[in-house]
């Protein structure tokens, strides 16, 4: 194995400037991930052909694939930079920012729309307060296990990046937010406000914008059964629609 790593990184100085490619060659260390290479560039911001440049800007916090920050497109695939082990991917490693979110700078994008969607879908349980009211409702172990998996979504954005229905003109909230609706609706006290969440996703940009391409479930790093969540919500919203029509 070569003792250097070659990288091709898409650089962009700001939201309104044009992008360019820069190539780098950094020392290789056994077992390292892509972010280690970016850290090397910080220590010596010089391109492969010897030109001084600025350190690459990217987002990362935990480096353990649990905060969701370091999502980027690596060799054409959307994933986290921290789990991209250099020895397991082809070189030169091509690194780009996600395309479905506005670029802030270099590999850093603005994912605030994902957090806004959480507001839209009422992604919380309406507790009466944080004072001591004793334990919550009992939960069967299998329900807990289902919910736990849904609850590991780290708002990383992979599922939105891979979804053909997400584009600058669409309002579709995407798989991550839909999955949150299922997460809360399956909790005994969350279910008390089921209707609010179902109504939210029956609105513009909601579940009916899903084109059933099923890309989301393939790219989700947490293996969340997103298509199951969406299918479950389809059934729920259909029933809910029918039921509220009958009530009228």
């Amino acid at each position: 194995m070569a003792d250097t790593v070659r990288l091709k990184i898409k650089r962009q100085d700001g939201p309104d400037t044009s992008a360019r490619w820069e190539e780098f060659e950094v020392p290789h260390r056994k077992g390292e991930n892509l972010l280690t290479c970016l850290m090397d560039i910080q220590k010596n911001p010089v391109t492969a052909d010897g030109k001084p440049t600025t350190p690459v800007v990217w987002e990362s916090n935990c480096l353990e694939e649990v905060c969701g920050a370091c999502t980027m497109v690596i060799n054409g695939r959307v994933r986290q930079g921290c789990t991209a082990l250099v020895d397991k991917i082809e070189q030169p490693i091509k690194v780009e920012p996600m395309t479905k979110f506005p670029v802030v700078r270099d590999l850093m994008v603005d994912r605030s729309r994902m957090f806004e969607s959480l507001k839209k879908v009422h992604a919380w349980i309406d507790i009466d307060g944080t004072h001591d009211l004793g334990p919550g409702p009992r939960v069967a172990p299998d329900v807990q296990q289902t919910r736990y998996v849904l609850s590991t979504c780290m708002t990383c954005g992979c599922c939105l990046e891979a979804c053909p229905q997400i584009n600058p003109r669409s309002q579709f909230i995407g798989a991550a937010a839909l999955n949150q609706v299922r997460l809360f609706n399956e909790h005994p006290s969350g279910a008390l406000h089921k209707d609010v969440r179902l109504e939210a996703i029956m609105d513009d940009g909601g579940i009916s914008d899903c084109g059933n391409a099923q890309n989301c479930v393939q790219v989700c790093p947490k293996n969340i059964p997103l298509t199951d969540s969406i299918a479950a919500l389809y059934r729920e919203t259909t029933w809910y629609g029918l039921f509220s029509w009958l009530k009228r």
């Binding site: 700001g14 991930n33 220590k43 350190p55 694939e65 649990v66 959480l118 944080t130 590991t152």
Partner: protein
Amino acid sequence: MANADIRVSVIGGGLAGLMTTIKIAEQGHRVDLFSLVPVRRSHSVCAQGGINGAVNTKGEGDSPLVHFDDTIYGGDFLANQPPVRAMCEMAPAIIYMFDRMGVPFSRTAEGLIDFRRFGGTKHHRTAFAGASTGQQLLYALDEQVRRFEVEGLVTKYEWWEFLSAVLDDNQVCRGLTAMNLRTLEVKAFPSDAIVMATGGVGSIFGKSTNSVICTGSAQAALYQQGVKYANGEFIQVHPTAIPGEDKLRLMSESARGEGGRVWVPKKQGDERDPSSIPESERWYFLEEKYPAYGNLVPRDIATREIFQACLDGYGVGGGNMVYLDLTHIPAETLDRKLGAILEIYEKFVGDDPRHTPMKIFPGMHYTMGGIWVDYDQMTNVPGVFAVGECDYSIHGANRLGANSLLSCIYAGIVTGKAAVNHATGAGRGETLNGLHEAELKRQVAINEKLKNQRGPENAYSLHEEMGKWMTDHVTVVRYNKKLEETDAKLQELIERFDGIDINEKIYWATQALPHARQLYNMLLLARAITLGALNRNESRGAHYKPDFPARNDEQFLKTTIATYSREGPEFSYEPVDISQIKPRPRKYDVDKKAS
């Protein structure tokens, strides 16, 4: 809405900051919430193992008082006892609160919350949600805060970095300055009280188990403004981290809690594959030396034993690693109880821990020391509060596993009330005035200097150098000579700091300038940590000096307090409140006798 005219700022949106925010908003007050990153990505997501509370659902005779005793004993009697007791008494209610928020805690067959055993206790006291408890707890609070955001009580300033407090002539807090991490705009925010919830200091040690944003820079900025920093020398090194090029990834204590066994080959430098080494040729050194607690001895002890075994040449292949073995446990059990953390190992190392023993080594993990606070979580500067890992209370000389998440919540609950009380009494900070203006100018000047400065040094390389020195000499084993050399090195790095070039001409969303600012602050805090260690000539909890191997209550049963001066940290000491549990020797080779 009650008293809507007061304004409190919370700096940091990990567990401690979010809990504080919720408690203040619940009282009907507005909160400005600042964070380097979207709060949902805060470091608290990393916590894997769980949160403690003596709910005693396993009928083991556990109680908050036993939890209290375990915590004080585990902390080697350095913690003030009243707040620890209050925390342990509140713990069951805290777990129930999360339960009502919908946290998917692992369950028993009866649908109750399940509890597991962690280090330093004999009871099943740790509630957990799969193997990502911190993530689940943080999300629960994040969701409740979002609800208050929708109601208009909470305003989030994400991608803003706290730079300093605004203090009036009487050293009373009137607000803060912060920098927008996209535009680099520096702005002053008036505030009647500020609550620091800025987490740990891992980055001072270069590589650690912490998130890379845990720099301690905010604490260090306040320290320079006169806020006292306490017990800085107590740094917890986690016994079982996975060494990596970019960071040390934690292998949670729950791996030992669920039956993981630590061993090395009996023959030094044994090159055989671990699975082909028979039982009789394995040395389970923790089980042998500590029959009462076995692999579940507290962290400081496990760390030193692993470190020593490697130093003595028993490390795997002669290197700095030992085995942490789970292969005797059925794979389904492992998947159910430890799935996520085993995935981490698989993902980052490439081996399957269900079939191959993991290789681990101690890594810097947690700071017991931090900003000095009183029992209302207020610092010595009126109006500045501190909560969570950045405050020094609760854990004494060593933290027990799964007590940190608990202490974050406890502190948040206490502070929610205390900060509002203070703000109501002090409420004058609402308007911007000359004080804010002056502080703003001072902060802008620091940025301008860094932008224009040229020289041969690179901030990231200096950072690496600092980290290496701190890790080598100020973690597991400490020698006074090495501590002195480290301090000299830190002073040299502070001088060389003036020679750094941030290599940046575009200031939009740059990380180079904020990093350089953080580095300077870290260097100053590193000195307080190092010299605190130098001055403490004893061994207690995580602080271990081979030249002074015993705990010395006569001279050192006291809290270290570092106060900033231009010449370097000045140290004073404060007695520890030991009114409830009398100090006794800390031994884990026999059962602890709870008093």
